[in-house]
Each structure stands twice: as C-alpha cells, then as structure tokens.
Symmetry: C2
Subunit: 192 residues, 2 copies
Amino acid sequence: MGTRCSVFIATSLDGFIARTDGSIDWLDRANATVQPGEDCGYAQFLHTIDALVMGRGTFEKVLTFPEWPYGAMPVYVLSHSIEQLPAGLPETVQLSRESPAEVVRRASASGHQHLYVDGGKVIQSFLAAGLITELTLTVIPVLLGSGLRLFGDLEADITLNVIASKVYPFGFVQNHYAVVTSRPHALDRQPN
Amino acid sequence: MGTRCSVFIATSLDGFIARTDGSIDWLDRANATVQPGEDCGYAQFLHTIDALVMGRGTFEKVLTFPEWPYGAMPVYVLSHSIEQLPAGLPETVQLSRESPAEVVRRASASGHQHLYVDGGKVIQSFLAAGLITELTLTVIPVLLGSGLRLFGDLEADITLNVIASKVYPFGFVQNHYAVVTSRPHALDRQPN
C-alpha cells in the first residue's frame, strides 16, 4: 500500500475555495451559522493523518494565525519562491522544492502513511500527478460567480467513488470521495 | 407566489455539464452503470412542471433525438439566431426573443406555475437575473478538468438552502437546493 494523500476542503456550490482576492468572507459567514463545537469532521480527519503538505499560499495564510496550529505534525511547505522558513516554527516544518511525486515518495520513506494535502494550487498539482487518493469536500450553499477554483486542468478524467455523504442541518453537504482511476505511473514521472 | 423556475441537471464533480466540444460521453458512461428504470427522480420532476424554457444549444440537441420528447408540454425556445422553428413540432413549442424576466412574466400570465429551465447558457442567464428558485444537481463522480461549466459569473452572491440530498448506490450525489437570496428586483430590470 502506498501513502494515501487526502484533501479536506470547503468550496462554494460553484467550486470556489476563495474569492479572486483570496478572501473567504462567504465561508466565515457560513461558519457563523454552525453551532459551537461542530467542526464537520475536521478534528477526526486530523487524527488520521501523519503529515501535511501545503503550498506557499496556505503557509503564508497560516502564518497570520495567532499561533502555529499544527503542533509537532510534520509539515512539508512546497515552494520555489520562499528562501527560508521564518524563525520560531517547530522543527517538524520543512521547506521543500520537490515535485509532488518526490515529496510523497520521501514522506512514504519516512513512514508517513497518510498525507493531508492543502491549498488550491498544491491540490491541483497533486490531482494532475495522479497522487490524490481521497477527497472530502464540504459544499457551502452559496454561489459566488467568480474566485479561485478548487479544481483545475487535467490531462485525463479522474473517476471517483463516493465513500460517504452527509448533510448538516445548517446546509453544508459533505461528500467523501475515493479516487478510482487516475493517471498511471504518476509516481514514475520526472519532476517538472 | 410567483412562478417557480427550476433547474434539474447533472454535472461532473468539477462543475461541467459537457466537455468543451459539447460531448457527454462521461455522462453516458456513468449512466450505463445505473440500473434500468432508475431515472434519479427525473420523471417525478417532469410531473411537477408546467412548461420548459431552453436555449438554442439544448433545442438543437433535442432535435437530433428520434422524436420530440416533451409531448404537448409548452416549450419556450429562447434564441436570437433561430429564424423560425422547423416544421413538425407540436404547436406548444414557441420561439421567443424575450429576456429571461420577460419569458417568466409571460409564462406566469399564461398560468404556468413551475418552469423547467434547461441548458447551460439559459440557466446562467436566469441565475444572473435572480429568477431561479430551485436547483436539483446530480453530481457524477468524475473530474473532467475542462469543459462547459454549469455556473457562470454573477453580480452578487446567491445563497441557497438544501432541501434534500441523496446518494445513489452507483455514486451519484443529488442535492436539491432552494435559492434564498438573489438579486432584488430582477423582474423589474429592463431586458438586455
């Protein structure tokens, strides 16, 4: 069994993860309707993962939080533009210039069985490389009309199975998909 | 109560209703996995509608079918480029150059309480005009990467409620949404 790579993310009904300027006011507004203590399975998901892979956009957003939220969880920050990580982060956070396939291979060699892949561009590059094995998508009942999309171009269709589907009383619909077919030999591709 | 305008359509998980060239091979392939007799609520939906509104694209596709599938159901074909309807169609099919708001107003005056709005561009123009009241979206578990999108640009967010959600054993997820807020005064806008 290879290392699993999971996405856990919220989108608008028209498939956006943020407005064009990156703002998630619509998501904050939706979350304000959720009763305290309801996290739509996020904590439970976090318990199943061994490491986190994120891109520069997500990393810089997380740096604005009052504190680093991932404790001692290993985190791979994929970026070609970040020169070095800021001081004060846990030693488990590392900068990487590797391709998605290289990171997964190295994480796997480190014993990481389940990676949490986060951030729009990183998710798209992992999907395009055939590396995502599961997606949990929480669809917020709003149409934005424009913004940053979760999904991007693909060289071939990716077919999935529904593992679970849940409707929350506040109108979020959460679907858990497993990837069935994806591009073959993705792990053997040369990094680009 | 005004006339309801409903969408009933299938999309890929990444929000496409067809490939860029209009083909729906992916949908046909998915439908081939569905047991005979299962129509995912389509016949039941058709029983609730009084009239159908479609654009040129859907109309021309329907004309390729062996026979006109809508019987004596009133059908408004919205098109500026079709000169006249081909011979042999039921008298209940009419060509219209009206705006979405004008068609809804006239349908309403004709006693039509529930319109089925079909076709990507027509659905987008009705949504943008604040005229859609309900959407039943059947999400096929496949990512296409590119194609013709169901949803388009909007001048303002549209918020929705989930009325019902259903997972079919063959992996389709069908969500029935009601529009909560949309652009105000849409019916009073001048046709564009």
